[in-house]
């Protein structure tokens, strides 16, 4: 230590014992890579095991397989058929991915919302009713705010009573299913006079090989990425989900952060509800059509590397996870697998992906 060059900053605290844990080493600030490639390599080294990278490879392999199969047999496996690309893929992936992002953000904060499916029904009915009575703009705002409202009600119950979100939102899922019947009666809410060109252009326009929904996914994906991975609130969401007491010890208000996560969840679910309502033009209160979305959204997040215990996950991973689930569903349909096999394979995918993530999580330690 005495042979340091003069002028070099001395550590404020020094461990005189030459222990293996704590001792004088090469200075960290000197050895950070400065070139672009060096930085990329460095970046890659430390994102390994965080989910998104590995699952993207799985998706890429699957996609290549599909494309090859489709080129070899365009009629037997019509994956590249524009009808399939724009009609199936770019309608189903964005909806599931946006719902997956919603569920994923909440899971990163350490919470669940099992009332997602019934909330979609409720939001869609609000959207349809507002659009019919007050016009499209009111409908969009109403649908999104309805989502935020529902999530904040659920979130407040979870945050202020400290009931596990699993139980609280399970109960609330029945409440919201009933609430949509209370609001609309048992007949379906139908988009009729307000279903115009503007609405279709915004939420369901077919551009040949893709649709408006895909554009929305890109926009929301970028916003979600900046929010979760670059904004300080996103950082607080990770902190609260990863270790709530450590976050509170550093004076992060975990209740506030969890409510923000719930509100974000609700806004995204509200938006996805609009996409679903415009696609189907109607919504049946109390119906089971939206029920599956609850667990599929959580599945997309988990397949994409989001931890069920909170604190871990990424926007890219979740979108890839949603794409993977929908592609497998699509592939089975194209291969003419009988209906019930499809859920069977989706189930297997989810379990395998979770095991895969668990292994990767172990490696990252």
């Amino acid at each position: 230590m005495s042979n340091r060059p003069p002028g070099e900053k001395k550590p404020v605290l020094q461990a005189p014992l030459a222990t293996e844990a704590i001792t004088q080493v090469k200075r960290l600030s000197d050895k950070q890579p400065t070139t672009f490639i060096g930085r990329m390599k460095n970046e890659l080294q430390f994102i390994r095991g965080r989910g998104a990278f590995e699952i993207s490879i799985v998706l890429a392999v699957l996609l290549i397989g599909y494309i090859v199969a489709s080129v070899i047999s365009p009629t037997g496996f019509a994956f590249l058929n524009p009808n399939n690309l724009s009609g199936v893929i770019s309608q189903s992936i964005p909806v599931l991915a946006i719902l997956g992002l919603a569920a994923g953000i909440l899971m990163i904060a350490g919470e669940f919302d099992l009332s997602l499916g019934p909330a979609i029904t409720f939001n869609a009915i609000v959207f349809i009713k507002f659009s019919e009575s007050f016009g499209l703009a009111a409908g969009i705002i109403g649908g999104i705010l309805s989502g935020v409202f529902i999530a904040l009600v659920n979130g407040s119950i979870v945050v202020f009573t400290r009931i596990p979100s699993f139980i609280a939102t399970l109960g609330m899922s029945f409440f919201w299913a009933g609430a949509s019947i209370f609001v609309n009666g048992t007949t379906p809410a139908i988009l009729t006079k307000s279903r115009d060109e503007v609405m279709v252009f915004l939420f369901a326009q077919d551009f040949g090989s893709f649709r408006s929904q895909l554009v929305w996914l890109l926009i929301l994906g970028v916003l979600a990425w900046f929010f979760l991975h670059r904004h300080k609130l996103g950082n607080h969401i990770f902190a609260v989900g990863g270790n709530e007491s450590a976050a509170e010890a550093i004076s992060i208000n975990s209740k506030k952060i969890k409510l923000i996560a719930f509100a974000t969840f609700g806004g995204l679910v509200g938006f996805a509800s609009i996409l679903i309502a415009v696609r189907t033009s109607s919504m049946q209160p109390g119906g089971s059509a939206t029920q599956d979305f609850t667990l599929f959204a959580i599945a997309a997040a988990v397949v994409g590397g989001t931890s069920l215990n909170g604190g871990r996950g990424s926007v890219i991973g979740i979108i890839v996870g949603a794409a993977l689930i929908e592609l497998i569903r699509n592939g089975l349909l194209l291969a003419k697998a009988p209906g019930f096999y499809i859920t069977l394979f989706v189930g297997i995918t989810i379990v395998i992906a979770s095991i895969f993530n668990k292994v990767m999580e172990g490696k990252a330690r």
């Binding site: 605290l13 704590i22 080294q45 300080k232 950082n235 270790n243 976050a247 010890a249 004076s251």
Partner: protein
């Protein structure tokens, strides 16, 4: 004697019918290392939570540098510069070192977006200049990949970097290997030189005795001993922790 950094007067905490802390008063001087000792259930953890503003006391007064604090809560203690490093939960394991160091104090632009490069650079500098920790490859490394000693050192580096004035360490040595413990105790000695007061909460008397200037022993929610290091021995502290007030009496009688 100069004004103490923190003076706690008559703190009582009741959870329903249970009195966890009973009329506890003490002082923490500037640049002083105080050992807070006691067996499990003595009320140490509750006292730490009250001092760091996480839990409200049922009764009691707090004076910071001679000025009375009306409502002690987490925002207030943050403003005063109290940092608590809780027993192996000071950091978020799934997050990088940089994000842990800047957790809650992120450097952001006007939109609230974090300046990651700048934060990484400062972190690298902090890890070099505040505490030197071997084996850390990058500020981007996840805390879950660090050893217990490295993680504690990162938590301490954070407190020092943000110029905290009172550092409360709750059982910091319980999860550490022997060598890492030695290094940690050495940091505490050096923190004094930086003008930082610290409270070391532990039930390991030997660790406390090595570094603390003063020892406070708790037993069943009461303070039973408050002595300067010069005026006590490991044996007396052991008797107090194990036997309570009765233990101290017997120990002193035995010595006569």
């Amino acid at each position: 004697m100069s004004t103490p950094l923190l003076r706690v007067q008559g703190v009582t905490k009741k959870y329903g019918p249970n009195t966890v802390l009973n009329d506890v008063s003490f002082e923490i001087g500037k640049s002083e290392v105080v050992g807070l000792l006691g067996d499990n259930g003595a009320g140490k953890s509750t006292l730490v939570k009250i001092m760091s503003g996480v839990v409200d006391a049922t009764a009691g007064e707090f004076f910071w540098d001679g000025t009375k604090i009306e409502n002690i809560n987490r925002e207030k203690t943050e403003e005063l510069g109290v940092e608590t490093i809780f027993q192996d939960s000071a950091l978020v394991p799934q997050m990088s070192i940089t994000r842990n160091i800047f957790m809650g104090r992120e450097i952001t632009n006007k939109l609230g977006l974090m300046k990651i490069k700048e934060m990484d650079a400062i972190t690298a500098d902090v890890l070099d200049s505040v505490v030197t920790i071997e084996g850390i490859k990058s500020p981007k490394q996840l805390v879950s990949s660090l050893s217990g000693g490295q993680a504690q050192a990162v938590a301490i580096a954070r407190a020092v970097h943000f110029k905290r004035s009172l550092l409360i360490l709750d059982e910091p040595t319980s999860a550490l290997a022997v060598r890492a413990t030695e290094a940690l105790l050495d940091y505490l000695r050096q923190l004094k030189g930086e003008g930082v007061s610290s409270v070391l909460v532990t039930h390991n008397l030997h660790h406390a005795y090595q570094v603390c200037d003063r020892h406070i022993v708790m037993n069943h929610g009461r303070k039973i001993l408050d002595v300067r290091k010069e005026d006590t021995t490991v044996e007396e502290l052991t008797a107090a922790v194990v036997g309570g007030a009765e233990g101290i009496r017997r120990y002193r009688e035995g010595k006569k």
